[in-house]
């Protein structure tokens, strides 16, 4: 969905998105938003990671 | 059921296994210094390669049993024997490292052989020193050690150090006769002809001296004259049989005789110090931890000991027969 943007902007986004999402999960899991969100965050993170690892090939198609 | 007695029995058993099994390893290691011919040294090391490190299991079992079952004694003996115990532990560790390095670095093999030998010799001497220091007496004030860490370096403990070293060398020599063929066979025979009388001489001197420096021993002899007398005779007869069997077939006889001899010695020592776990000051009952603690230890010991013994027996059985001259094969890349 990225239109014709300069590569710097793309790279910045490539850095910011995982960083912010990761930070959000980190804060959640260590309990900043309470125990329930921590457990929820942990479960989403773990299940999401497992699904990703199993489904998505780590390089363009081949292993 | 007298838990302290059972735990003490287990600890004594542990020590006995250790001495009989690690004794000949340490003896063979020390003998490396007397063997200038490199292929023969390799052959000597090959004879103990399959089984040497498993034998230290029993040393640890003894230490840990002391901690769990007789913590008062543990807390007195450790600081009292601080220096010899640490030197022994480091020597044993050094043996392990030099064993590995020796195999992997062929050009430096001679140097590692020397280090392995010195480690074995030092460990043996320290064990004797510990024994002698315990017999001579450890200063105790209440439940604390009250002497100096250098107390154990008196003449009598040094005598015991040499005696134990010699005893291990005898065991080592017997093992070599059992496991090797000419020319090492001849070497082991020559070694035994000299070291066995030497050991007996030192043993008699040590036993005699102990009578005078440790009144507890006199008391023990007066209390169990028949038992101790029988054990002493067993020891001397075994030594005699050993002497007659040197160099003769079947090769297992010297080793068997030597083990009986040493076992008799240990049994005698046990009777002499009983029931003091810190001879001759603290009894097993005063040094004990709680009953349940001892039950835990014994339960674990009952489960684990047969497995370890079974596995060890299996190991020795697999490597039965003479050690092949070219070693156990499988060179290192």
């Amino acid at each position: 969905m990225l239109k014709n943007l300069s590569s710097t902007f793309a790279k910045t986004l490539n850095f910011l998105v995982p960083s912010l999402v990761g930070a959000m999960f980190f804060f959640a899991i260590i309990g900043v938003f309470g125990l329930r969100i921590a457990v929820a965050g942990l479960l989403v993170a773990v299940i999401g990671a497992v699904v990703l690892v199993r489904r998505v090939p780590a390089e363009g198609g081949s292993r | 059921m007298d838990m302290p007695l059972l735990c003490a029995g287990f600890a004594a058993l542990s020590v006995t296994f250790y001495v009989l099994l690690d004794g000949f390893d340490l003896g063979v290691g020390a003998l490396l210094l007397l063997q200038p011919h490199e292929p023969s040294r390799d052959h000597m090391v090959d004879s103990i390669t399959p089984t040497w490190d498993g034998n230290e299991t029993w040393l640890i079992m003894t230490g840990v049993t002391l901690l769990a079952a007789f913590p008062i004694a543990y807390g007195i003996l450790m600081p009292a024997l601080y220096i010899p115990i640490i030197v022994m532990l480091l020597a044993l560790g050094l043996r392990g490292v030099s064993f590995e390095f020796r195999a992997q670095m062929k050009p430096y093999r001679r140097r590692w052989d020397v280090i392995f030998a010195i480690g074995s010799l030092t460990a043996a001497c320290m064990q004797g020193l510990i024994l002698g220091a315990m017999i001579e007496g450890i200063s105790v004030d209440g439940v604390a050690f009250s002497g100096s860490v250098f107390d154990c370096f008196r003449p009598f403990p040094w005598l015991c150090a040499l005696c134990v070293l010699e005893g291990y060398v005898v065991l080592g020599g017997c093992w070599l006769q059992f496991k090797t063929s000419a020319p090492l066979h001849g070497f082991s025979v020559r070694v035994l002809r000299i070291t066995l009388p030497l050991f007996l001489l030192m043993f008699c001197i040590a036993a005699g001296t102990s009578f005078f420096i440790q009144p507890g021993i006199q008391t023990a002899w007066q209390a169990h004259p028949l038992l101790l007398g029988t054990l002493s005779c067993t020891l001397l007869i075994a030594a005699l049989i050993l002497f007659c069997c040197i160099g003769k077939r079947p090769d297992i006889r010297p080793l068997a005789a030597a083990m009986v001899m040493i076992a008799a010695g240990i049994a005698g020592l046990a009777i002499l110090v009983f029931p003091m776990v810190v001879p001759f000051r603290v009894s097993i009952w005063s040094a004990s931890s709680s009953r349940l603690s001892q039950i835990f230890v014994l339960a674990g010991a009952i489960v684990v000991t047969p497995v370890v013994l079974g596995y060890s027996f299996f190991a020795y059985w697999i490597f039965r027969g003479k050690t092949p001259k070219k070693g156990w094969g499988g060179g290192y890349e």
Partner: protein
């Protein structure tokens, strides 16, 4: 460092136990990793898994060996350096330590030989069983030791009678308040250590363009495990933090670098401090504003408890606890970053080709070990001045051994342990240099029965026996 027997005894114990913990951490982690890998091999019959197994088997064997040797020293050192502690605590934790030793021997006698050397001598299912039993055995051993250490941190189940400790409730001794939180924390630390070791070696090969299949699989597996594990680890870590705040407040007060009974509001999260224990203040402190309140009080303006809440004669040394904690926590954050990056790069199909990430992985190879050490420093220095929290002070537990003797043996330990470490690194580097293709089918350790199970060796043995010599 003064020539004070108590200090020297502590330094000596700290040195030997720090050195020791490196190896069981690796052993516990690698044993589980090997069990998983062998399971994958049996399931998929992909030879690559077998190659990975063999490669790490040798390293595991060596680490296990060094762990055993250094562990032997420790079983005596309780008494050597801290005789009064051994006498007092023996009834309570002696059995647990004994059981740890016995469990190790049980597994070593029974299964380690088969695991290390029995690959062609026993069927694949029995071999896999042996590997699993070894992984289980290391886990059980760790449980016992952690129970013993946790009892020292949060003692329970004992009363003091006539100067001796009497156990009144064994279950409370074993299952003391912190045990079941510290155990999964330590186990995860071990598994994370293995994950980063594996991923790091894989990344190293990828950067050099060698052993590509092995390297890619290693990076994939290592990062996948690390991701799941670090999420769990920081979760458990936070729960454990809460526990220790309740049962051992001085430790957590020291860990955050605040002195005042109540910090400012909002509180920063300190990363660098220069604490002055005598004057009970920081001469210098650098931190991220607001983050202290957010992370430590879960609010924007909460105040954090400082170390002055504890009387000075019961305070641990802030510098040690603080930096131990920051090292552990800082590495945890880096691990979390690796995890996030790995997932993102997977999504973009660029996991094996992103150079900065591979370099990051190589740098993070020993991260698990360093973080584990940091964590243990928090645990042990944070408990000071107690050796059994609230029951026995460390200085009252020291053995009656003079300072010079302690110093001499400390130097001896440092020298000989350096030799052990040199030996270990020598062999590991050699294995890594040679690469997975040359990984022998059986571990290389030369001394002991385990060596005997190598096929060439056993064939010689059988020929020997048959010749009837």
């Amino acid at each position: 460092m003064s020539l004070n027997p108590a200090t020297l005894a502590r330094v000596q114990f700290a040195f030997t136990v720090s050195f020791h913990i490196i190896f069981p951490t690796m052993s516990i982690g690698l044993a589980m990793f090997l069990a998983v890998i062998e399971g994958l091999w049996l399931k998929t019959r992909d030879a690559l898994y077998l190659q990975i197994y063999r490669f790490w088997l040798s390293i595991f064997a060596m680490g296990f060996g060094v762990g055993v040797v250094t562990g032997i020293v420790l079983s005596f050192e309780f008494g050597l350096g801290f005789a009064k502690f051994a006498q007092l605590a023996g009834p309570a934790i002696g059995p647990m330590i004994a059981l740890e030793v016995l469990t190790s021997f049980f597994l070593e006698a029974g299964f380690l030989g088969i695991m290390l050397f029995g690959m062609h001598r026993v069927g694949p299912k029995l071999h896999f069983f042996a590997t699993c039993m070894v992984a289980l055995g290391t886990l059980l051993s760790a449980s016992w030791i952690l129970s013993a250490n946790s009892w020292m941190q949060t003692p329970d189940g004992v009363v003091v009678r006539n100067g001796r400790l009497v156990v009144v409730n064994w279950w409370h001794v074993l299952n003391n308040p912190s045990w079941l939180f510290r155990l999964p924390h330590m186990l995860s630390a071990a598994y994370l250590t293995a994950s980063f070791l594996v991923a790091g070696v894989g990344a190293w090969y990828l950067l050099r363009g060698k052993h590509l299949a092995f390297a890619k699989k290693s990076v994939a597996l290592g990062t996948a495990f690390a991701t799941v594990l670090i999420a769990g680890q920081v979760f458990i870590g936070d729960l454990l933090y809460g526990k220790m705040l309740k049962y051992q407040p001085p430790k957590m007060q020291a860990a955050e670098g605040f002195w005042a009974k109540e910090s400012t509001s909002p509180a920063p999260y300190y990363w660098v401090i220069l604490p002055d224990q005598k004057e009970q203040r920081n001469r210098f402190a650098l931190g991220i504003p607001y983050l202290g309140s957010i992370w430590l009080t879960h609010s924007l303006h909460g105040r954090v408890e400082g170390l002055k809440n504890t009387p000075p004669d019961r305070q641990p040394i802030m510098g040690m606890v603080f930096y131990g904690f920051r090292i552990m926590y800082g590495i945890a954050i880096l691990m979390f970053a690796v995890a996030t990056s790995s997932l993102w790069l997977r999504w973009k199909h660029r996991l094996y080709t992103t150079t900065w990430f591979l370099r990051f992985l190589v740098a993070m190879t020993p991260s698990g070990i360093i973080a584990t050490l940091g964590g243990w420093y928090v645990a042990e220095t944070g408990r000071q001045p107690w050796v059994i929290f609230g029951l026995l002070r460390t200085i009252d537990a020291v053995s009656p051994v003079p300072a010079q003797t302690l110093l001499a043996t400390l130097i001896a330990f440092v020298c000989i342990y350096t030799l052990f470490m040199a030996a270990f690194l020598f062999f590991v580097v050699r294995i890594i240099r040679r690469g997975p293709d040359s990984a022998p089918a059986h571990a290389e350790a030369s001394g002991s029965l385990k060596n005997a199970f190598r096929p060439q060796v056993l064939d010689n043995v059988n020929a020997n026996a048959a010749a009837g010599r």
